[in-house]
Symmetry: C2
Subunit: 207 residues, 2 copies
DNA sequence: ACAATATTGAAACATCTGTGCTAAAAAAGA
DNA sequence: TCTTTTTTAGCACAGATGTTTCAATATTGT
């Protein structure tokens, strides 16, 4: 029997190369040849693990989406496992900590968010990425929804806010902050966005 | 002297073709040949009015950006020219009317917003579009800032909100709503986004 | 050592891209 | 009508892309 290279590892290594290329030079430069070069592989090798470019892109998209949401879900489950803090400030802090996993606040999460945005926009016209985009949307919707439940359940909430409405607004805030940091990182700093997110969450509790 | 075709009209006609292509098939398909075909022109003709593809894209970007902001500024100046309504509901309605010019709520504004988003993301890696993207950001920042001034000046505002902070948040809401409608028009309807925007504005006045 | 087969490498093909260059067509002044 | 100059059209080139095809390499079980 021949050499057995763990196919999963190999595919993820190629996906990493895709992320690097998209992050630094944009989706247009994520060609098979560029990806192969970035991963130090031959074009034939890449095509041995992925039948199509479409399959490669779908895999990379889903891998990226999973990375982001796993980060958020880890923090979320840690939040849900403990009793909620009684003070509003602490509660806001906890919830913001979860949601910040969805923002490009530096390090790995920054490149992930950029790549995710590129994939999302690409999925608008590349039909074979449509399902992955839908799955991504559902995943972030679930995260935001669960965080919001924690907030609104803590009888600290003022007035009668409809959870669905506030989820819609909170998702908009998150997407907007994310978009701005991706497109104009010089203008939208992590500290600024972080603070804006916290202010928004606080405004859901106090007036 | 030869035939004199109004160069401005011609350039805008070509830009229209660019918008159509980007809106329907994405930035990647906005090649010179596709643009020429879409505009019923020969490749040589397009190149007669634009030296580069870079120049064409820059012109199209700025034309698109101008369309969006002119729509908003028209409504804004009409708002600023009259005394502010005393009732909170009417004030919110007026301000929302201005800001809705920045959202893809159907008709021409929908395609404009989609195209604008594609250009913005493209400008992240295409350096020759960087300046146009910056100018666009400044323009929407100015619009949002002026609308917010109207709101906060109307001694209806509750608590002590810092205008800069609220501008940041409002821009995020607008960008987020816009992004979602562009990427998932089936999930984010105009009515929904419109309502969310109004709720956000109302929350700046009442608790 | 040998054979089987996953893995790699490379060449070729058709298509598309931006750009440079040249020449035809067309229209308005003389 | 003739001339001038914009406008249009088309060819050609070099480069890049996805895909197909086929041969060479390398590694593991026997």
């Amino acid at each position: 029997m021949p050499k057995i290279v763990d196919a999963f590892d190999r595919r993820e290594l190629v996906a990493q190369a895709v992320f690097q290329l998209i992050g630094e030079r944009g989706m247009a430069h994520a060609s098979l040849r560029n990806v192969a070069a970035q991963a130090n592989l031959a074009l034939g090798s890449v095509r041995h693990y992925f039948d199509n470019q479409a399959e490669l892109m779908d895999f990379a998209f889903r891998t990226n989406s999973e990375r982001v949401h796993v980060r958020a879900l880890d923090r979320l489950e840690e939040l849900e496992s403990k009793p909620l803090p009684a003070q509003p400030e602490l509660l806001v802090e906890k919830c913001a900590g979860v949601l910040e996993a969805l923002l490009p606040l530096g390090g790995e999460s920054s490149r992930d968010a950029v790549v995710r945005m590129e994939f999302m926009l690409a999925a608008r016209t590349l039909v074979h990425l449509g399902q992955a985009a839908l799955d991504d949307y559902r995943a972030t919707g679930a995260v935001v929804g669960r965080v919001l439940m924690q907030l609104l359940a803590s009888d600290l909430v003022i007035g009668s806010r409809k959870p669905v409405d506030e989820a819609e607004r909170l998702i908009a805030v998150l997407d907007g902050l994310s978009l701005r940091m991706v497109l104009q990182p010089a203008w939208a700093t992590p500290e600024q966005s972080s603070a804006t997110l916290r202010r928004h969450l606080a405004s859901l509790l106090g007036p």
